[in-house]
Symmetry: C2
């Protein structure tokens, strides 16, 4: 654990549970798969990832962007939106495909957490793949209050996001609420077998049925992607790693 005794980390399992107010730093988590994909796309050279709650706004905004500089990534119910360049799989984000491109993304749940916290002074996204980098950055900033917001699934708790939030609490210390304390215990119990944890998660099971085992294994890997996704304007994330 990083020594950071003044910092308090609060975990909220769904966007709906986020209270009013603004923390010093807010972190959106959607391990399966939006924030894993965002980290991967940025690490592989995407210029930015811009997230949208609905496909209509995405289509509208992407039309105004030079066609050769963009990719449209869309997922509904775990499947790629028809006619889009990408779904929500981090494995699709090869350097060949994403380098230099702006990715216009809309996912079932991943975008709601970001929307709920987009007015915080510092907004990041985290997943297991870039956990250490996000934790190290947060610790270096001496924030007093950090909110970690899970995306959940259609408004309810999500096991993989709770565990990832718990991993952040574990690294940063200072559980600010009961949710943070419990999330750290969940991570502590499962940290050596995150693939098994994701297979147990209801959304993990949903993805397995769709044939996404390799995605799941990728999303369960700790510290394998060098990305610090940070919001520059509402909904727009860029690589902020030095």
């Amino acid at each position: 654990m990083i020594d950071n005794t003044a910092m308090q980390v609060f975990v909220f399992h769904t966007p709906e549970l986020v209270p009013k107010g603004t923390p010093d730093c807010a972190v959106a988590v959607d391990v399966l798969r939006a924030t894993t994909t965002i980290a991967t796309a940025l690490a592989r050279g995407a210029e930015a990832v811009e997230v949208f709650a609905d496909l209509e706004t995405l289509n509208e905004r992407s039309t105004a962007w030079p066609a050769e500089c963009l990719l449209r990534a869309g997922e509904r119910g775990g499947k790629q939106v028809e006619g889009f360049d990408l779904g929500n799989s981090p494995l699709d984000c090869t350097p060949e495909r994403v380098a230099g491109k702006r990715i216009f993304m809309s996912t079932t749940n991943g975008t709601r957490a970001l929307q709920r916290i987009q007015h915080s002074p510092v907004v990041l996204t985290a997943a297991f793949v870039n956990l250490g980098i996000v934790a190290k950055f947060i610790a270096s900033q001496h924030f007093e209050t950090v909110w970690v917001v899970g995306s959940g699934w259609q408004g309810s708790f999500s096991l993989e996001d709770a565990a990832c939030a718990g991993a952040l609490v574990d690294r940063l210390g200072g559980a600010g609420n009961d949710e943070a304390f419990a999330a750290a215990a969940l991570y502590e119990t499962w940290k050596d077998d995150l693939v098994e944890l994701l297979e147990q998660a209801s959304h993990g099971q949903r993805l397995l049925k769709l044939g996404c085992l390799t995605d799941l294994v990728f999303c369960a890997s700790l510290d394998t992607v060098a990305a610090l996704p940070r919001q520059t304007e509402p909904g727009v994330l860029v690589q902020a790693l030095g």
Copy 2:
């Protein structure tokens, strides 16, 4: 773990998160302290515990009951309601005080969980003190669906209720949702040090500030009270132990 593979146990951390529908069996949990006190009162011979969301209805209903056969138990913000016979401490429930009496009870949070599930065919209350008895009864009934509902604190997650719900999942098997799975991990991590867990919980810390350490230690004790509180009519719990 009891072998009960057909049973699915769903955990909801607050009454607000309980979905529509009706399970075969619903269990309300408010470890600190309503459901610990209910179990203790019934084990020490109380005729019944009747719970109320508001003090006005409690006063109205208790007036219609023979004065020598009732006690009024009320708590707001951790403190005893003025003029009431009891607060919300299980330690006040001595046989001398409660035997043969109906306890009219209202607590800040404990009653809301019960209200939310009161129309299920079987309604129980559980705490650490009577966990084994409740688990054994549930297992013997071969229910398909069991809901465990935490009381939380003013609408948010409560660590001690999550751990107690997790203990039920641990004993019964068959985590039905991600919350149940995570709750079981929380219990697994802390089962040998429940006093420490309750001291870490935000409501535990609130009670410690009010000088309630002995209450907290009592509420953290596993299987020390022989009670199976079961609802006979909405809001009325009686001892259903053989």
